[in-house]
Symmetry: C2
Subunit: 588 residues, 2 copies
């Protein structure tokens, strides 16, 4: 019975850094080869990173991707890695850069996978199913493929048939995995760029299990890792056998080279030509140098994170990669003593270390004593670079001339903090400014444009206020479990939220209680429910109308807000696009 | 020979205001009926407005669109308009709100047209070709249709066969217009939501002519009008005969009810069932009450605007609708005496009248004398509400504490102007803040985040600096032609551009000469050319590298910038999406 040691390299590419990403593949091949693997795979569109968006419209970008693929094959052989099969995602251009109708016959730009061996590009596969919903816009950029190469691998102890598919291909019933199963392949390799999303079930594993059973073959699933603007790819690569049994699973939110030994059925496929509306192409690849498996690989099934641990990791990795990939080394944020800035400081410290986090308290005459003492306590617990810049004098100097009152005066304070002090420190010292508005505020438009919303990244953009509290408690408990100081002062968690822009102000003056607000937002924003559905779910009609009206009117502020890691099905950002000019009034 | 008076109602709907848009249809039907028309048509997705984006994901929105359609049919009859056929675009949901693969069989959400008559929805048509490029995301929102209703209209003097198609359907060779031609229809009615884009040719007319000749039938093309966020729909509805001869054409950038009398061939179509991969459905509609055409309609072929006149109109209408549809009545902007703020003030005055435009001069110690005198001259020429708010004292108060120097000090001035003074005036007095960065600056990131980029709308976001100059001269000449005062001071046009944020500063300290810069930007941004292409076009390599590097690094600033009317193929905004985290370096 043929045996194959398969390595899945779960790595963090940088969109656009084609040469750097190729180096990551080369390094993974080196490690996989050293570990005795016969084949190693990296994720979807790995050479270009995912999603490359409108870079894909440039001929020069497509040329660079294809040239790098050929160079990678050559370099692998030159470095003595010609005898390990390498599968990588990349961007191909099949003929001229014209995007035809989505009929699979037009040539053009392709979401592609290549198998490299002995200095050659042995075969290419073009993704069949192009997702065009949520965060995906693949119909915009790619033409769909309609070929299914079946690669007969001549292993030392017998032949096996391999099929390669890409991400969404696996989600389609009747798609390439189904066809590969009908063709009788012995192994399916799926390369993916699948972003994290909070779910209650383990859908990724379940899908792999179902498809493996349907195909009657083991399935190896490799995902990319890392933050890319608002997306966070969580890794979680895995391998199941033909019965759907989980054989190996990589960490979530961390790089890993997952290695597994597979006992494969001998090759039996005879299909050639048309099958299930795709053109099956057969080819043979001799792998004479695959080392015999003398001792079993260290199989690993990584423990899954808790629900809160997953979210925390997504926020930390999303921030960490945004900082690193954009060339920053430190961050600055305003510390109000409230829970939102406190949790962001804790996330930032976990992402880049407390020494690289600058926290600034900027009191005015409306600031409470606890706003300053809680901020100082937080800074001490975390060990960050804490500064105090009183802005009361600035407010006076400006308002003495302009005489702003009411909302204009409130906003003036927030703008002096965000646009003047924090952005000035960013310009002077090179920090990335973090903004700290939670999803509930953002939904309601409860923030100051060019004020507290100033900044390059918002780690809690997709986190509802009630989740901010829950995660804060979780992070503190986690610290206790690890014998560390809980980072977030208890008072920041327990005190009533206030913007402190006028005397005695509380969030509840302007917003419904957060428990009710977040329940309604979950339905209206994440669930696309209408007013009638929300009333049927038992929410207070007056509050529903208030929330719905505010959400409908706040789109402009949301469009002007900083990006942040997406953790839900409907984040405000890439996968949610409302008109700014919008006459729709859901409320009665 | 059957005759039919056709009315095309070129109107400005508001996205989401379904009831208001239905009222527009009702009013158009009333006017068309009064003009003796037998049929009247409005544009694509008229009841919902276009593009409705993620509103389309809500069941409540789909329900409202369908309910309004039925109510509209009833209201038309109730108001004595049952005997005119009314064709309108709307949003339909054909079965449950599930988006299937793009195979035309899945039911689900539809970009739809309906024909209303005598209180009934007589037939529905679902768009076949869903554009998913440039500003269009229709694969995201709709499932494609595969039916082609052919409606036999029983007119008093004979029968004719009518086919209705929607926008992109007309652009596809082999699509519904081709099929309608093969089926032998006598009239094609095309409803559209087709945004303005600067072109050298009259592509819209040419397409209508080609399709009419292919179909061997007259073609009536109706477009919507108006600004919707970054899109400007330019109207330009038209009718050609079966030989492609232009019979009638409506104004660009203005509402119009275009009425034309058509001599139609008698019905001859016998096709039923499958044709060109679409299901032809035949139905008959008696129109006994169509009034005889006793005197010919006042046929109109509107004069076309000049190239510069088109662009000016697009900028004015885009701004006007953004202000109006978002409930503002006035605007405020900073006046530096430079050309960018001067042209924006002129556009704003043309859009909403000079009395509703507030211009603020905000000098610092670096401001030149001419910056203030040119601003005052402009304000006087236009007649706008001019104010002077010196900010030198604010700079001193803040910088005395914080000691910002260099870039931080430059940005401080811009932020005090934009975020503190203009936004404060907006909060106090209710004006929309206009921001005035041109496309060349935006491309290069030559602006201050939360400074001069503050504001809700930017009328010249898609206008290169050299075009700003050209349009300014055009507008002044136009004033002379009309015997009015040219709005823009000659000195604002002719002096060298400067941000005046440090002593003696000129744009050319930081940017290449604008003639060279704009030529490179046209290639790199609008043309998706690569570095090699730009060098091959003869541009200076050092300047190319400088431009390309700056453009690649400025995406975050662009994402944070205000919307503005799109006039080119590649505006920064809706139809251009680069990664913010972007390791691609086109330059060597």
């Amino acid at each position: 019975m043929p045996k194959l040691r398969v390595a899945l390299a779960q790595l963090d590419p940088v969109v656009g850094d084609i040469a750097g990403n190729a180096n990551l593949v080369l390094d993974a091949a080196r490690r996989a080869h050293a570990a005795g693997a016969g084949i190693v795979a990296v994720g979807e569109m790995f050479l270009t990173g995912y999603p490359a968006e409108d870079l894909l419209y440039r001929d020069s970008f497509a040329d660079a991707s294809r040239a790098e693929l050929a160079r990678l094959a050559t370099r692998l052989r030159a470095e003595g890695l010609g005898e390990i099969a390498v599968v990588t995602g990349y961007y191909d251009l099949d003929g001229p850069l014209t995007r035809g109708p989505d009929d699979g016959t037009g040539g053009g730009p392709r979401n592609a996978a290549a198998l490299l061996y002995d200095g050659q590009v042995v075969t290419k596969y073009f993704k069949h199913y192009l997702p065009n919903y949520g965060v995906f816009d693949e119909d915009r950029y790619f033409n769909r493929g309609d070929r299914l190469p079946i690669i007969r691998l001549g292993l030392p102890d017998g032949d096996v048939d391999l099929a390669i598919v890409i991400c969404e291909d696996m989600w389609a019933t009747g798609g390439p995995v189904t066809a590969a199963g009908e063709a009788g392949v012995n192994l399916v390799l799926s390369i993916n760029a699948s972003p994290y999303e909070q779910t209650k079930s383990d859908g990724r594993l379940e899908l792999c299990q179902r498809r493996a059973r349907e195909a009657g073959a083991p399935l190896a699933y490799v995902n990319i890792l890392g933050g890319q603007d608002e997306l966070v790819f969580d890794g979680d690569s895995l391998v199941v056998d033909a019965h759907g049994e989980l054989l190996a699973r990589a960490a979530q939110f961390a790089e890993e080279l997952l290695v597994v030994d597979l006992d494969l059925e001998p090759a039996r496929s005879t299909v050639d030509g048309e099958l299930a509306a795709m053109a099956v192409e057969r080819l043979r690849l001799e792998l004479p140098a695959v080392p015999p498996i003398t001792s079993p690989a260290l199989v690993r099934v990584a423990e899954r994170l808790s629900a809160d641990g997953e979210v925390w990791s997504a926020l930390v990795l999303g921030l960490q990669d945004y900082i690193k990939k954009n060339g920053f080394r430190s961050v600055v944020l305003g510390l109000s003593g409230g829970i939102d800035s406190s949790i962001v400081a804790a996330i930032a410290a976990d992402a880049i270390g407390p020494a690289n986090v600058v926290g600034v308290s900027m009191p005015t005459k409306y600031s409470s004593d606890h706003s300053q003492s809680d901020a100082a306590d937080l800074a001490k617990r975390i060990g960050l670079d804490f500064r105090i810049v009183p802005i009361a004098g600035f407010v006076e100097a400006i308002n003495g001339e302009l005489g702003f009152t009411g909302l204009a005066e409130e906003n003036l304070q927030a703008r002096l903090r965000g646009a003047i002090v924090l952005m000035g420190l960013s310009n002077s010292e090179g920090h990335l400014v973090l903004t700290t508005g939670n999803k509930s505020e953002l939904a309601m438009g409860y923030s100051t444009l060019y004020g507290d919303s100033c900044g390059g990244f918002n780690p809690i953009k997709d986190v509802l206020k009630t989740t901010v509290w829950r995660l804060s408690r979780w992070r503190n408990e986690e610290a206790v479990r690890r014998g560390q100081t809980p980072p977030i002062p208890e008072n920041a968690i327990s005190k009533p939220p206030s913007a402190e822009l006028r005397p005695g102000q509380l969030d509840t003056d302007s917003l419904p209680p957060y428990e009710q607000l977040d329940a309604i937002l979950s339905g209206y924003v994440d669930g696309d429910l209408g007013r009638a559905d929300l009333l049927a779910a038992g929410h207070d009609p007056a509050i529903v109308d208030r929330v719905v009206r505010s959400v409908d009117l706040a789109e402009y502020k949301r469009r002007q807000s900083a990006p942040g890691p997406k953790i839900t099905g409907k984040a405000f950002g890439r996968d949610r696009r409302l008109p700014m000019t919008n006459g729709w009034r859901e409320h009665g």
